[in-house]
């Protein structure tokens, strides 16, 4: 079918590690991200497990209080900055965006590889911060001033690491925006793009516009620590709430950076296994853009108890309710996509439907925090911890698992054991809900977050959640073990194992070096199953 070698076999720029570290092929860069991020993810999971064990035996039998504070900071920094924010765009965006829109590569392939180096440099700086200076940061991933200005731990280097990671994010964003505007195949209008491309498009805009604010804020923290410029430190006339505003002006839109690509992947998976077009294509595409827009205006709902004016509280609560609407629209459209389909139930669909269930809980608990009277009680408790794990892990994490299952045969040309994946789903699902629903209940009971020891009334539920964490880890090991085994020993996969109709399924698995022998001309929408029926 093709004369080009697969991107995995191509030896034009050498072999071995060097070929990988110097390749500007978007697919190889995507895999570099995949391997590095899964490694970071598993490290942070390990830290999470240790934190759960600490709650099993309170009062420092396992680790000292200072160590615990470093652990949750590290868990948050790794998960947020090294896994969830860059996760889906960097892995699947890199690998599939050009293929989905009929291009040979991203617009700036070298910049793309450079983004990965920025990513790794930021990660290494963050790791170095643990072992140098005053030791591992202990402020939580939010780095709230003035504590982050006063603590003796190595905040400056960690924050500089996050600053460098920001560049990786911005450069990837601009690369994707230009790719989508300039490199679509002939006939591929915006409204013929797969929804994954729409999701990446809206994500890229947030990455490009919001990340600089974080970068500047972090530089101000560093300047304040070294030169005492007094922007945030009230002792010098600064304002600690200003820090919180600046931090969340980035970090709330970042939440949508995290979830939008996951939603995009789900919108790809559902039509393929239902063998019909997605319900409400334009509604989903526009809801992505409106989440990106309105989502940039809700940051201060992280600050309802900080002492902001009552008017600001009211406005931000109102906007928060409005941003929930496009997410609800997406959920309704996804569920309606199942209606009158011809459903081929496969592992990616199971994980996609699990995503919808968990994301609903995450979204609805988010609405609860958006309501002012409830927020006063649950803010900064385990409720918020449970909530964002439902969104970030149940949402983005399960979307990533679903996307990996969906595209794995395309990326590696191998098929995994479906039975083993189904088996891994059970402990994943049960453990996940024990752990994080347990946290929601703990939060309602009044358990504050970031405590290395807790009052006795919380203990039984901590035990329940910790047992859940063991199941969850078991499920993760089974899931990744199955995929790892498939890379080496899996059966060869077809070019189109799921019967999909978007462009990636028209090329061989694994894809050839330049994706397409000849650039296709597009005449229909992305989920056009009609011809197959004839």
């Amino acid at each position: 079918m093709t004369t080009q070698p697969s991107y995995l076999d191509y030896t034009g720029n050498g072999t071995g590690l060097k070929a990988w570290l110097t390749s500007t092929d978007h697919k190889r860069v995507g895999l570099l991200y995949l391997y590095s991020m899964i490694s970071f993810f598993l490290v942070a999971v390990g830290i999470g497990v240790v934190m759960r064990l600490v709650q099993l035996y309170p009062f420092q039998h396992l680790v000292k209080a200072q160590t615990y504070n470093a652990l949750f900071t590290l868990h948050g920094v790794i998960m947020i900055f090294l896994f969830v924010v860059p996760g889906l765009p960097a892995i699947f965006g890199n690998f599939f965006l050009p293929i989905l829109i009929g291009a040979k590569d991203v617009a700036f392939p070298r910049l793309n590889l450079a983004s990965w180096y920025f990513f790794m440099a930021g990660a290494i700086l963050a790791i170095l911060s643990l072992f140098t200076g005053g030791g591992a940061p202990d402020t939580g991933w939010t780095f709230y001033a003035p504590f982050s200005l006063k603590t003796g731990t190595n905040i400056s280097l960690a924050v500089f690491g996050a600053f460098v990671l920001g560049f990786s994010s911005m450069l990837t964003g601009i690369n994707f925006i230009v790719t989508i505007h300039r490199l679509r195949a002939p006939g591929m209008t915006f409204f013929r793009m797969p929804l994954m491309a729409w999701a990446l498009y809206s994500t890229s805009w947030i990455q490009l516009l919001a990340t600089p604010i974080l970068a500047i804020t972090l530089v101000l923290v560093i300047l304040e620590r070294f030169f005492g410029i007094g922007i945030f430190d009230p002792a010098k006339g600064g304002d600690p709430l200003l820090y919180q505003h600046l931090f969340w002006i980035y970090s709330h839109p970042a939440v949508y950076i995290m979830i939008l690509p996951g939603m995009g992947a789900i919108s790809e998976i559902l039509p393929t296994f239902c063998k019909r077009p997605i319900f409400g294509y334009k509604a989903i595409a526009f809801s992505s853009m409106s989440i990106a827009g309105v989502g940039s205006l809700v940051w201060a709902h992280h600050m309802f108890t900080s002492g902001m004016s009552e008017f600001a509280n009211m406005v931000f609560s109102l906007l928060t309710m409005i941003v929930a609407v496009p997410s609800a629209i997406k959920v309704f459209n996804w569920v309606s996509t199942l209606y009158k389909g011809s459903i081929d139930f496969q592992p990616p669909l199971l994980f996609a439907l699990t995503f919808i269930f968990l994301f609903c809980i995450g979204g609805l608990t988010g609405v609860m925090q958006g309501a002012l009277a409830i927020n006063v009680h649950i803010h900064d408790t385990y409720f918020i911890v449970g909530h964002f794990h439902y969104v970030m892990f149940g949402g983005t994490g399960f979307a990533l698992f679903a996307a990996l299952l969906y595209w794995f045969p395309k990326m590696f040309g191998k098929m995994y054991s479906k039975r083993a994946i189904y088996a891994s789903w059970l402990p994943l699902f049960v453990g996940f809900n024990m752990l994080y629903f347990g946290m929601l209940i703990l939060g309602m009971m009044g358990m504050p977050r970031r405590y290395y020891v807790h009052l006795p009334q919380f203990h039984w539920m901590h035990v329940f959640a910790t047992v859940g964490s063991w199941l969850l880890v078991l499920g993760l090991l089974m899931y990744f073990g199955t995929l790892l085994y498939a890379i080496f020993r899996g059966k060869k996969a077809d070019a189109n194992p799921w019967g999909g109709v978007s462009l990636e399924w028209t090329i061989p698995s694994p894809p050839p070096l330049e994706n397409f022998e000849t650039i296709p001309t597009i005449t229909t929408g992305p989920y056009h199953f009609a011809e197959e029926e004839k």
Partner: protein, 317 residues
């Protein structure tokens, strides 16, 4: 099980919004989940081999945009109005100043009376002016559904009216350093006459709510002792207990040692005794061990803690 105890008028206000939202959310979740399961079974390819190519439906889009919007707006409105109640203190509320510092709470009443726990008469509104002496903290009383941050730049105010006698946990909710988790105190809600006896009594007036506190005390995590205490108080950041000099002199073998010290520029030699250790903790700038910088800050410590610390340092031979 004492979770979701409602011990203030605000608690019912917050919970009402919660249960309203929870009810809607549960209905939505069950609806969506049931629909997914039904569709997956009903339209399985075995039962339904040929998919219908439906692109969408404008009416449905409008329906599921507008209905959630209206419901979300009711949640917003209900949440906002009840929040107004939770934040607007009545005029006759008694004003108490709350000061947060790493890692303790202090309360000061209008007549200057000070306390480490917050005594509150039942049925009387109390307005809190919350400040921080150092970093951001969070003042949280779960049973009252009460939370407000203690920010160093300005005072935040909130209020409550207790409706149940008892002893309720105060916890810090904003990460503030190594002992964030031990930054605990209690609100003790007592009958009004008991409160008055204490409030208008002199220095030695007995604290109210003794019976309540006896039941409350075992709840607190056990207090740190020995090396643990020194670590909690930050001493070990500059003083070792193994003989190694750090920013400050080691505490090992310090007790009973002949030590050259500097008091207001005068060098002299003293024998380190209990009185010196106590002075060094309470007024660290007074008398400095020669060769070390006068860098030690005052650390707020209770009398018992100073005593425990001194006792421990004596054992470091």
């Amino acid at each position: 099980m004492d979770w979701m105890t409602q011990a203030s008028t605000s608690a019912a206000k917050s919970d009402a919004v919660f249960f309203y939202t929870f009810g809607l959310s549960l209905a939505f979740l069950i609806f969506i989940t049931a629909l997914m399961i039904y569709f997956v079974v009903r339209y399985n390819k075995k039962r339904h081999p040929k998919a219908e190519q439906i692109e969408g439906h404008v009416g449905l889009e409008i329906l599921w945009t507008s209905v959630p919007l209206v419901l979300f707006l009711t949640i917003f409105y209900y949440g906002w109005t009840n929040f107004e109640y939770m934040r607007q203190a009545p005029r006759d509320a008694m004003g108490v100043k709350v000061t947060a510092r790493q890692w303790s709470w202090a309360f000061e009443y209008p007549n200057g009376k000070k306390s480490k726990v917050l005594f509150a008469p039942i049925g009387r509104p109390m307005k809190l002016e919350v400040r921080s002496a150092d970093v951001v903290h969070g003042f949280f009383v779960p049973s009252f559904r009460l939370k407000i941050d203690a920010v160093p730049s300005h005072a935040n105010t909130t209020w409550f009216e207790p409706t149940r006698l008892g002893s309720y946990d105060i916890q810090c909710t904003v990460i503030c350093g190594v002992d964030h988790a031990l930054m605990l105190s209690k609100v003790i809600v007592v009958p009004e006459d008991e409160f008055k006896t204490w409030y208008f009594g002199g220095e030695d007036a007995p604290e109210p709510g003794k019976s309540l506190r006896a039941e409350a005390h075992p709840d607190l995590p056990k207090k740190p002792m020995g090396e643990e205490l020194l670590r909690v108080k930050g001493c070990l950041a500059c003083h070792s207990v193994d003989g190694k000099p750090m920013v400050g002199p080691t505490l090992k073998g310090l007790y009973g040692k002949q030590q050259e010290v500097i008091t207001q520029g005068q060098t002299r030699t003293i024998t380190v005794n209990e009185a010196y250790l106590r002075e060094a903790i309470e007024q660290p700038g007074q008398t400095i061990v020669k060769g070390y910088p006068p860098a030690m800050p005052v650390m707020p410590m209770r009398e018992q803690e100073v005593k425990d610390a001194v006792d421990y340092i004596k054992t470091l031979k």
